[in-house]
């Protein structure tokens, strides 16, 4: 192990300019050192900027501030010693397995014989023997991602970047591929020195990484760095493994530390009607409340448990849980989800009663929903264009977030029968559909 890091990021910040001149910060105060022999995991939910950091390291994007250096040299474009494995495999469908693997070497204008030798080596190493002349469309997802690995390894990179490489695969295939990768890594048979793995799967991070950087959102930043010293191969059922998973859940559900003095701190960025809301369906909301209310949780559920119970990834579970918290149907703390009294009565109620409870909470705790309702009440026509609210929201957030937030408001409002929405004319109204 050498003492100088393979990769060094210091105070990296990435921001996009908004149309109104403001800045949208995606990533802030990012510090990361990667040493030889390490697998570092970037763990977080979508929108936490972990993939953005990976692209900065790959030289595919440029930081707004801060420095990235690879072997002491600043990263200012795709570097020769850094290769990437993509979530969607990113194979060229018109090239065979062999041609896909050879492409990276051809780009370096390597002699023909060398290209051939190294490509076949990589194909052999990753277990693709016999598939050389197949086209990606003929392969299963697992085999396609193997091509993705072979293609990255063939250029003999010092650093391998992996962007959620197993998340597009089914559970069994993903596990096989992870194990194969860890075996090759443990035996030192891959021509790589360090790995950066982006994932939103907590168990995967604990299974594979030596260090885990837990990302928080809005803006993307590191919440905590966790060292994993468990020996390989790791066992998911090992108590110390479970403990680590639990600890990460606690970190990820901790309330933002930089909360303003005023009362409750919501988990969604922005204040009042300017909050960015996730478009979570009312079915998921009531489904999760029912699950937590029922046995064995009886109103209070441990997040890792309920996540594996419902087979939900954190990317799916967290927005639902946080929306319940926003609506005061549940509290989220210390890795637990605990229903409030109203949450419990919602879970026990029939459909009409549920709608009444939901309506009360929606108008009381979601300022934007209350705002929409107020505007409709005040107008003589009892109707308003969607664009009116979009314009208002865009003072606080970008176009996509505004669209998404309004979709949430439409969905919840329809469920609660707080107002109606006509998609063809993009109009809110108080009318009941005929």
């Amino acid at each position: 192990m050498s003492s100088t890091p393979l990769l060094q990021c210091s105070d990296v910040r990435k921001a996009f300019r908004k149309p109104d001149g403001g800045e949208l910060i995606v990533l802030d105060g990012m510090n990361l050192d990667l040493y030889a022999g390490q697998i570092v995991g970037l763990l977080g939910r979508s929108g936490s900027g972990k993939s953005t950091l990976l692209r900065l390291i790959a030289g595919l994007a440029e930081p707004t501030a801060g420095t990235l250096s690879y072997l002491g040299e600043p990263v200012d474009g795709p570097a020769a010693g850094i290769a990437m494995v993509f979530q969607s495999f990113a194979l060229f469908p018109w090239l065979t397995v062999y041609e896909n693997v050879a492409l990276g070497l051809e780009a370096q204008h390597m002699p023909k014989d060398e290209i051939r030798k190294r490509s076949l080596q990589a194909i052999d190493l990753i277990g693709l023997d016999g598939f050389e002349s197949a086209y990606p469309r003929e392969l299963s997802g697992g085999m396609r991602q193997r091509v993705g690995f072979a293609r990255a390894l063939v250029v003999h990179p010092n650093i391998l970047l992996m962007d959620e490489p197993f998340s597009a695969l089914d559970v069994l295939t993903a596990e096989t591929l992870r194990t194969d990768f860890l075996d090759l890594w443990g035996e030192g048979r891959m021509p790589i020195k360090g790995v950066v793995l982006v994932t939103h799967n907590i168990e995967e991070a604990v299974l594979m990484c030596d260090r885990i950087l837990v990302f928080g959102s809005n803006p993307g930043r590191i919440l905590s760095e966790i060292k994993v010293t468990l020996p390989q191969p790791r066992n998911r059922l090992d108590p110390s493994f479970r403990e680590l998973v639990e600890r990460i859940y606690v970190v990820m559900t901790a309330r933002p530390a930089n909360g303003q003095a005023a009362g409750r701190q919501e988990r969604f960025p922005g204040l009042g009607i300017g909050s960015v809301l996730p478009s979570v369906s009312s079915n998921l909301l009531s489904g999760l409340m029912e699950a937590v209310a029922a046995a064995p949780f009886s109103g209070k559920a441990d997040l890792p448990e309920i996540a594996s119970d419902l087979q939900m990834e954190i990317d799916e579970l967290f927005p639902v849980a946080e929306t319940l918290q926003l609506l005061r149907f549940a509290e989220l703390e210390g890795g637990d989800l605990k229903l409030t009294e109203d949450g419990l009565s919602f879970a026990a109620a029939e459909i009409d009663e549920r709608k009444r409870i939901f309506l009360r909470h929606l108008l009381a705790y979601v300022p934007l929903a209350a705002h929409v309702r107020r505007v409709l009440d005040e107008r003589a026509s009892h109707s308003a264009r969607k664009s009116r609210f979009i314009d208002e929201l865009e003072d606080f957030m970008d176009e996509d977030a505004a669209e998404n937030t309004l979709r949430a408001i439409i969905q919840w409002g329809r469920y609660a029968e707080a107002y109606a929405y006509d998609d063809v004319n993009a109009m809110f109204s108080l009318e009941n559909p005929t």
Partner: protein, 573 residues
Amino acid sequence: MRRFEQFGILRNLTSRWDLIAFVVVLGLIAFLGEAARGLFVPLTQLDIVPLSLDPRHLPEYAARTTLRMLVALFISLVFTLTYATWAAKSERAGKLLVPILDILQSVPILGFLSITLVFFMSLAPGRVLGAEFASIFVIFTSQAWNMAFSFYQSLRTIPIELSEAADSFRLSPWMRFWQLEVPFGLPALVWNMMMSMSGGWFFVVASESITVGHNTVALPGIGSYIALAIEQKNLPAMGYAIGTMLLVILLYDQLLFRPLVSWVDRFRVESDPGEDTPESWALTMMRRSRLIRAGKVAFRAAVLATSRAFNFGDAAERVRAKRSKRRSLDLLWVSLVAVAVAAGVWHLVASLVAHTPVHEAVQVCGLALITMLRVFVLIALASLVWVPVGIWVGLRPRVARVVQPVAQFFAAFPANLLFPIAIYGIVTWKLQPNIWLSPLMILGTQWYILFNVIAGAAQLPAELRYAATNFGVRGWLWWRKVALPGVLPFYVTGAITASGGSWNAAQVAELVTWGNTEIEAKGLGSYIADAATAGDFHRIVLGVGVMSLFVVVINRLFWRPLYYYAERKYRLT
């Protein structure tokens, strides 16, 4: 089935740029006309090979015509790969280039011919070559625009991860173009090439035999052969020509496009195995002969060798360059555009307004209204017939397999070959030409409605149909709630193509001859045709300009909103 996506990319472009593009295009056309007029060379110098109606010459004529199509296709391809790439890579250029393309595809294709003919003749005075240029140029204009559109669209929609993979493996821009961008755009491009080609036959027939003023230039080819047969009222010769045309189109389809479509299927990013892969016996044959493998190996070697030889910049450099913004260039670009617009306006004013009395312009607009009415009524009538037929056929896979290729074949067949028959009917029964010439406009284009509707009905999910049956949805209710909404996006695509084709056909359909019988329907098409025969440039430019304007406005105000509405509300994904 794949669709045209010609509107997909224009959604976000402001109308300001459209207006600028319109002025630039029309200005350019007027300029070409002016320039050509100055260079006018007496056409009597042309050494024209006399044509013969002897059917023994037909194979040679067919070969000449086919060659013209191929040359034009090649030029269109070169144009596509450069113009579309430029428009997609440079945001600055794209802002103007894309609307220009959109306007260009609204200009009636035979209008291009009328305006540019003398210009091309003057390029090679005294030889047939000039007329050859003009004919090829016409075919080019009937193919290039939608090919360029499709490639531009592909370039803009390359999946981000594929593009990142190319960057991170440091492909040089040259390699990136040939290994990523071109292959990705190929399926859509081939499909559009096929569509363009089927339109091309119509124009090759119309462009081989051209009359300007007192001179007729006839290039050896099927089109000229037909023109001569019409002039001499030779019915058997017409029959031979139609037979030859059928054969040529069939061969083209089987030997060129079926294999291409089938081969290119593997370039599609999203497709999974097991989907209906298009089949081609010709491709299978070529595969067996290892021709394709050899071609592929040669192609890759060529890309590599050129990339190596020229060492086209480092990928990292390219990424860096992409980031640096150059304000001064922006300014230069804007001022260039401003100058071009000013020049366009000046030419328009100079060549149109100054030479055209106001009442003439008003009259031309009136004629355009008549032609517009014709197009809309015809589309409506064709829809009444072909939508139910298309749905009926599309829901029966076995029937569809037979009918679909036939419909596509009819769309490719140049309908102008059949016009003399119409004349015969009109003369015999003393029919009103203003009404009875109209159907000719849609004779060749109605098939687009049919085969799009068939494709739409065929992709209607079986479960939806079972559900309708299960709930006892029948009769008129079934048509209203199930079948018609289900095929709407496809129907609109077909109707747009049919409408565009009908405007294009107006110039030959509103003025038809058979020997010395000439029948004319009042309309903008016959106005342009008259002006072209008389060689009156100002009237040609006026007519073509007004027609382009009408097509653009109708597209913007009617078809495009309809297309988006159908896509949003009725597209089954």
